[in-house]
Subunit: 142 residues, 2 copies
């Protein structure tokens, strides 16, 4: 049971932006190097974060990305639900499963998923950065 790397990197990108000085434009290349990602993949993630209104992308030589929201305004459950293609734990549709729509497995997994999401709903991106100084050190920021 894994979140996609898209979601994982999306969250790491938000953490990186919170670690940076507020309002500072961050180069995509800096995030790529910090987390050792593929640039193409990160660009897609940044486009998605921009479409969701979390970040702004600025083109050009001095371009980059910056956070548009306060970290405390980005709810973790909401961000994960937006980034993750699905939170359906099993694929009931694609297999044309014979178990009917009142399948108990699907119901119970749904109940477990809701408990999972409810925990995340209590946190925001600000909770991911408790000690900003220590985080900057970890990320190699000056």
């Amino acid at each position: 049971m894994r979140l996609t790397r898209f979601t994982d990197y999306g969250l790491r990108t938000l953490i990186f932006l919170v670690a940076e000085d507020k309002g500072k434009r961050v180069r995509v290349q800096d995030i790529v190097e910090c987390f050792d990602l593929s640039k193409d993949h990160l660009i897609k993630i940044v486009q998605r974060l921009a479409a969701l209104g979390y970040v702004e992308t600025i083109r050009g030589k001095n371009g980059g990305i910056r956070l548009l929201c306060e970290p405390a305004e980005i709810n973790l459950a909401q961000a994960i639900l937006e980034l993750e293609p699905t939170l359906e734990l099993i694929d009931c549709e694609a297999l044309s499963c014979r178990l009917s729509s009142d399948c108990r497995l699907r119901h119970i997994l749904g109940e477990a998923k809701r408990a999972f999401v409810e925990v995340l709903r209590q946190y925001t991106v600000a909770d991911l950065v408790v000690d900003r100084g220590a985080l900057r050190g970890q990320l190699g920021l000056p």
Copy 2:
């Protein structure tokens, strides 16, 4: 966020066995046809269910598989933890992530995962089969 198809089919196989008459040997081919699975994949799943002690496999012309436990003895959290290769929601190791071992994201996802597992721990495979007659009809059993 998906469980693997291995786990998904493992649970469906247990459901199929509960739908069958107690102690009856079920042919792998019957489960393959019912759920439209790959036989190779199902054989691996059955081997795993046997290694876990949930089912017994009998070789030969009249061979097959049968449930070794009462459905109420198979806890859903335990079975999923045993079948699923990982419940770690993000891959902290493979990426040699710079965020240290006290990464808040990992802690919070761990808390959410525990809430997920705690819900499953309240259920057994018996809870997946509320109306055995209806289930037999759905599975095309006589």
